[in-house]
């Protein structure tokens, strides 16, 4: 599937938010997310990235401005994903199943079709051999794959990921980004990835939004970091 990147699926207008009066963490953000985008949201810690995601997802309410979510089936892999209760009594299968609970109506339980999708999602991230293991007993990288599988089982149109690779070793990170690229390019799933690791994600994503209270850059990732004489530097940012 070739993403067309023209159809808006999230429209953000004049969005502002402050935790304490007078010091906004986000100010007048205008941003559209298009179908098929692989958007990286970068910026310093405390720059408002996580707040922006929470606003988009409706986990907190905007104080001014609007977020218009034009799709219904949304999956979220939060920072908590690698920071969850490691003693929680749930297997990989249990966790991935959660992705199906709201999919075809609440309070219905899982049918054969659901179970097939769960097995496929686990297969897609290469975790089939571990499906009966408790998530708490897995490595950070395997846990991360499990959470991606849960998002996949939901068959979402868009997946939001907040710092998904924190606490995950380099090899697992590489595999993880490979899985994400595949989801975006082969399955056409729109991805929004928050990271403070600018170097890594500019190589992975296709669009970049840089946030530091204001939206300081938005455009193709190749324009964000320009290579010149082998030295990387960040493109001169004009205020949006």
């Amino acid at each position: 599937m070739v993403p067309d990147h023209t159809k808006n699926i999230v429209e953000i207008k004049n969005l502002s938010y402050s935790y304490t009066i007078g010091t906004p963490v986000l100010k007048d953000i205008d941003l559209n997310i298009h179908k098929g985008d692989y958007l990286g949201i970068v910026g310093p810690n405390g720059g408002g990235k996580s707040t922006l995601i929470k606003l988009i997802l409706g986990l907190i309410k905007p104080q001014s401005g609007t977020v218009n979510m034009l799709v219904k089936n949304i999956a979220y892999v939060g920072q908590k994903a690698t920071d969850f209760d490691q003693k929680f009594p749930a297997t990989v299968w249990d966790v991935v199943s959660m992705g199906r609970y709201s999919a075809d109506g609440l309070f219905k339980g899982l049918n054969t079709e659901d179970k097939k999708m769960i097995a496929e999602a686990i297969e897609q991230v290469g975790m089939s051999d571990y499906k009966n293991r408790l998530v708490g007993d897995l490595s950070g990288g395997q846990q991360q794959k499990t959470f991606i599988a849960r998002a996949l089982a939901q068959q979402p149109e868009i997946i939001f990921l907040d710092e998904p690779t924190s606490g995950v070793d380099q090899d697992s990170q590489d595999q993880f980004y490979k899985i994400l690229k595949n989801l975006n390019q082969e399955l056409g799933i729109t991805l929004v990835l928050i990271s403070h690791d600018v170097d890594v994600i500019t190589n992975e994503v296709t669009e970049i939004a840089a946030i530091n209270r204001d939206l300081i850059f938005y455009g193709p990732s190749k324009d964000f970091v320009k290579e010149e004489h082998g030295i990387k530097f960040i493109a001169h940012h004009q205020n949006a």
């Binding site: 949304i74 979220y76 969850f84 009594p89 249990d94 609970y101 609440l106 007993d137």
Partner: protein, 264 residues
């Protein structure tokens, strides 16, 4: 040797005890994993105010206890979500407030009588036939509703934000759950008493969690531990003339210790 089944109150106690033994740890697993065990203690103190009101007005203390805990559980949850006070402070407000109300109500009904003492520490002798019907009926209702919301509640317990984003009505399910917890706590009063209720919700769960099984097996193991503790507690307390509530809790603690030793 005395045959305990020839005593009507023992049979009634066992029936009510079995229902509670199944329902309490099922609610308990979710409470413990949500770091919400303390709400059981708070609601049990609230139930004392409900019981005192029931005794004062001459209506079924079990019903007034259910009313008081249900209303309080919803208010505690609202207060916690409003973020005006810390979660634990909301619990502390209700715990001390309801205890104060209970003391005043007890004073109005001219002091501490034996039946109130029974409610504090549990006494299967206080279980009436109508209590059995109430406990069984509400116990089944609690389990049935829990079965309906089970998957969604599991998702919320594991990862509330992701559950919300995926379209699960988190607030509504949380409210339903907390009401189920409140009802369960009230139902457990005649068996283990107000002061020991939280033990019945928490100890079998904590023991079962040590075995590191997946979610549903953990619930089944917690129920098994709880059933064994309640039945053994009632039988042992009958033959050795001990307080049943305390005996039940001590047996469940003993199981927890044995599990810990076997696993280490």
């Amino acid at each position: 040797m005395l045959n305990l089944f020839q005593y009507d109150f023992v049979v009634k106690g066992l029936i009510a005890g079995l229902v509670i033994a199944i329902v309490a740890p099922t609610i308990g697993v979710f409470l413990v994993l949500r770091r919400y065990s303390l709400i059981a203690d708070t609601l049990s103190h609230v139930s004392l105010a409900g019981i005192a009101l029931g005794l004062l007005l001459g209506i079924s203390p079990l019903l007034t206890a259910i009313g008081a805990t249900t209303i309080s559980s919803v208010l505690i949850d609202k207060l916690r979500l409003s973020r005006k006070v810390y979660g634990e402070s909301a619990l502390a407000l209700f715990l001390s407030g309801s205890l104060a109300l209970a003391v005043v109500l007890i004073g109005l009904s001219h002091g501490f009588n034996t039946s109130l003492f029974n409610y504090l520490f549990g006494s299967i002798a206080t279980v009436t036939t109508s209590d059995i019907y109430t406990v069984s009926f509400l116990g089944i209702i609690v389990l049935a509703i829990l079965a309906v919301i089970y998957n969604e509640l599991l998702f919320i317990t594991f990862d509330e934000d992701s559950a919300r984003v995926s379209g699960i009505p988190v607030n509504a399910i949380n409210t339903v759950f907390i009401i189920l917890a409140a009802i369960t706590i009230s139902l457990a009063i005649p068996i283990v008493g107000i002061l020991l209720i939280s033990a019945l919700l928490v100890i079998p769960t904590v023991a079962a969690l040590q075995l590191k099984k997946s979610f549903f097996p953990t619930i089944l193991i917690a129920q098994a531990i709880s059933i064994f503790s309640v039945v053994a507690g009632i039988v042992v307390s009958f033959y050795f003339n001990l307080a049943p509530g305390g005996t039940i809790v001590l047996i469940s603690l003993l199981i927890f210790v044995i599990v810990e030793i076997l696993l280490s």
